[in-house]
Symmetry: C2
Subunit: 377 residues, 2 copies
Amino acid sequence: MTSLQDLATPCALVDVARMQRNIARMQARMDALGVRFRPHVKTSKCVDVARRQRDAGARGITVSTLKEAEEFFAAGFDDILYAVGIAPNKFAQARALRERGCDLKLITDNAAAATALGRFGAAHGHRFEAWIEIDCDGHRSGIAPEGAALLEVARAIVEGGSALGGVLTHAGSSYELDTEAALQAMAEQERAGCVRAAQRLRDEGFPCPNVSVGSTPTALSAQSLQGVTEVRAGVYVFQDLVMANVGICSPADIALGVLTTVIGHQAEKGWTIVDAGWMAMSRDRGTQRQRHDYGYGQVCTATGDVIDGCLMTGANQEHGIVSCTGGAGSSVAERFPVGTQLLVRPNHACATGAQFPEYVAVQPDGTLARWPRFAGW
Amino acid sequence: MTSLQDLATPCALVDVARMQRNIARMQARMDALGVRFRPHVKTSKCVDVARRQRDAGARGITVSTLKEAEEFFAAGFDDILYAVGIAPNKFAQARALRERGCDLKLITDNAAAATALGRFGAAHGHRFEAWIEIDCDGHRSGIAPEGAALLEVARAIVEGGSALGGVLTHAGSSYELDTEAALQAMAEQERAGCVRAAQRLRDEGFPCPNVSVGSTPTALSAQSLQGVTEVRAGVYVFQDLVMANVGICSPADIALGVLTTVIGHQAEKGWTIVDAGWMAMSRDRGTQRQRHDYGYGQVCTATGDVIDGCLMTGANQEHGIVSCTGGAGSSVAERFPVGTQLLVRPNHACATGAQFPEYVAVQPDGTLARWPRFAGW
């Protein structure tokens, strides 16, 4: 494998130089704000990527599945926050990881899970560490900073015999914003809500050593992180078209693309048909309701230069339809003959990456490397 | 693994009894119409499923990737139609499969690919078989039945030294219909267009032994298949909510579901949070523009009984938000306590299945089996 032309398509390309710039930018920002950074590795699910985040200064990782915890622990990462509410059917696997030496932290937002965790721990002579999930924006899970349940859950953790490790929140609604002022305000809302929850716990005598916040848009927008001990973010490592629409990167920062090959045309419609459909791009249409709808992706040359006016406007399972404005008529077959390679930038890097068993890393010197990624639970 | 309660979640369950009924229904219909049936195995990518389709009477398989061809050939399937337009970067892999004994048929809709295929074959002393893709509904790829390109491509195939195996078409726009009359008309349009293209080839002296049509909605709606030699269909094996909206199955026919576990609630909003997000369900929102929008899926008990009024209305990567009408207020935590298992039926079985490395098959006697599936290209 020495050049792009040798690759089977579709495949997922990572531009390593862009990725390293994204990593350096985030780490520099966290260093300037004086907080630890715990990247969310759900975006890449790739040890080669996470090692570069660690080498740049990251401390610990965040995961979204116990499969990720298993894989990254096996690769030498031992400070792991599993940032999805724990359910009883996962206690045994979590305990097994911890007893093998993984410093795995669990989270919950309810007393039922906290109590069950304590009981399971007591029955097996094991002390878990649990953090409490805070809801800073009404987006998903968690307890409101002023919610009565906060102290109830803290008691359930501590009285059940688990260690209370801290609080965490995720301003997921930041993905819906697109102005600097709104992003800065959301970052402050995320910070203030999580710090307030920590304060309430401490006021009642509970320990709260960790105050963890984060999302890519808020992490790159926060002006102060006073009271916060660590930040989590994931998609920043690759960036994507949704993030470009949010306004915290430009399309030229996007490090992930799908390499595809032209298989035919519908010349009268101005369509070029390629061998990357939704199985390759994912069905994520995250830019659909944003300021610029990129369809299933922004079309570039194989080496990453944007082809103005070309978008993937439709996708079947293994067919992508590329439409070019200004390219109607029979000229598409001349512009993009059968066999031409194109690179399609994704709406959502987490979803597109997940469709592939590996990345092909295009290194700064132009050489290619295969970086495995994993999937499943 | 003896019961659902022992399963790690999320996982993909296949109700084998329902699947067998779907298989039997389609095969009986094809037998009655007097055509061979070549199932599209892209839906399951699972040898255990395809063997049951073959056992019921299927002849050969259809694939959407050369990876599928490799995997199914290794499992003993040797009559394989690769139903995505061939590009030059796939010639070598296709030839290697054929030289190992796989009767792999390729397709194209353009002279450029057909000519390149012939040249590659001549250079390697290999004769490929190519079928011509016909566009019966303006949906995607292919040559219109009356298009001038039809004879040009046939000449490129034959003069290039490949065998011309026939014509095929796929009425993909049938997914957008929802009345019996429209479906029957589309099935007839698909049949007539493909038969007409075959006739034009034969009139010019070209061989056209195979006339292949199909999609799940048209296959289940066709009143006559005169002139057709084989039908292809894929999603019928599992069915899904999109197909239920099209009107060719009921939700009770859907054989694929995602088993998930409750991890928390937002009681004031009537939300139950589960551990299946879009990574499990896929981002497919195929019912969004249909008569009934099921969100990210229809919510059932773990054993498959629909819970009226409950849909997965939101999905993050590993979080699903289940909203229940008539279940607002704090009662959701009582109705669905943390740890409760739910089954979510998918919008699109091909997309949801693809998120999982295996199916858990729930057999008619209630025992569970693991059926591996593969992914990638």
